[in-house]
Symmetry: C2
Subunit: 214 residues, 2 copies
DNA sequence: ACCTGAACACCGTTCAAGT
DNA sequence: ACCTGAACACCGTTCAAGT
């Protein structure tokens, strides 16, 4: 677990000794556990410290406030999402537009689905935090991955690629999130997959210039 | 201001006398004011009561807990959104698919833009509340409005209309919300409008059967 | 009958005292 | 040097006492 927070969320003390690293990790894991076991409302600093086997005071040496705990969890979750999506995009390079759309939609949904309970909990928590910086950085990494992929499409060229990527990603996010929050049932997920595929293909078709066209 | 909360969010006492209604309204308005003036973090029950000119005790006679205050504000905001969007959809009935897409996208963005500060504040707050019921009801009203409009398209027919509406709405919501949270600059809004228009048209094109086709 | 606000329970955060 | 946990400040909520 590496900690890399913006400004106000930086830990007081960077763990330099092995023992400290173990402690930070225990606190981090305790946070996730309490979140999943007891729920967001019951996630108190005392409870996390207790579960981690340290005193509140010690916890405050490594995480300057409660928000820093949550921030760390959200950050890891987003990092995993980004690397999963990026990997998928790389595999889809030099494919056709239609194949890219399908691969991207499926990857997006599959990764979102991976840890539903944690995701749902984090959605609730993220709103209370100042996650602007984190979201912007996440968004731009996803955008880069998508842009690089689309640029390599064998059967089309695109103008304003970053805008196209942005639109695709935020649209996928909106639809997926909605299904997610309604509760993912088999039928809903199937509908999501097929409609999202049509949406992305239709959009790409509409913004594409054929390879070699003016 | 009418109060109509689900189960746990119901006020203790329905105001029957004119005086009480005035009080409830004062509390409601005070909540919005404190929210916009002091921010979500400083929205405390004491502060709202103070601004409304009543004691905390009195406030608790009408709103059983803090969440009920916020719920009321969110509810009104969503109701306004729904009625604005519904009005736009009605005006677009019996138009062509392309005209509908344009009208719908512009209406969606225009209404979202209307009260940016309040919207941003409410996004943050909504996550802490149990707004599932409210969101489901809002979503289904928007879906109905959109479905009824699309059903009247002069140049196309659609299968699975509710699914199509759902996809359009949640995609628009995702993209608009992202722009919204990045901060709405003139350029971003223009990009949003044009990309969203292309997205919706491309999607509708892809799912449409021509009028009269099998 | 209705309102008030001191009192209570609880939580995030600190810091004097301990090792 | 590092850890502990009682103490503090603050907030949501209640209810005895007042009118």
């Amino acid at each position: 677990m590496n900690i890399d927070h913006p400004e106000a969320l930086k830990p007081r003390k960077t763990p330099r000794q092995a023992r400290s690293e173990v402690t930070v990790d225990a606190i981090f894991k305790a946070t996730v556990q309490v979140l999943l076991t007891d729920g967001e409302h019951r996630l108190t600093t005392t409870r996390v410290a207790e579960r981690a086997g340290v005193s509140v005071g010690t916890m405050y040496q490594y995480f300057p406030h409660k928000r820093a705990l949550l921030y760390a969890v959200i950050q890891q979750h987003l990092t995993e999402f980004v690397s999963g999506f990026d990997a998928a995009c790389r595999q889809l390079r030099n494919a056709s537009m239609a194949v890219m759309a399908e691969g991207m939609v499926n990857a997006f949904i599959d990764i979102k689905i991976r840890n539903p309970d944690l995701s749902r909990a984090l959605y609730k928590i993220a709103a209370e935090l100042d996650t602007d910086e984190l979201r912007i950085s996440t968004a731009s990494q996803l955008q880069d991955a998508c842009t690089a992929m689309l640029a390599s499409a064998t059967d089309a060229q695109f103008d304003d690629l970053p805008d196209v990527s942005f639109t695709l990603l935020t649209a996928m996010n909106g639809t997926t999130r909605a299904v997610f929050e309604l509760g993912m049932q088999e039928r809903r997920l199937n509908v999501l997959r097929s409609q999202l595929l049509t949406l992305c293909r239709g959009y790409l078709q509409a913004v594409a210039r054929e390879r070699g066209a003016p």
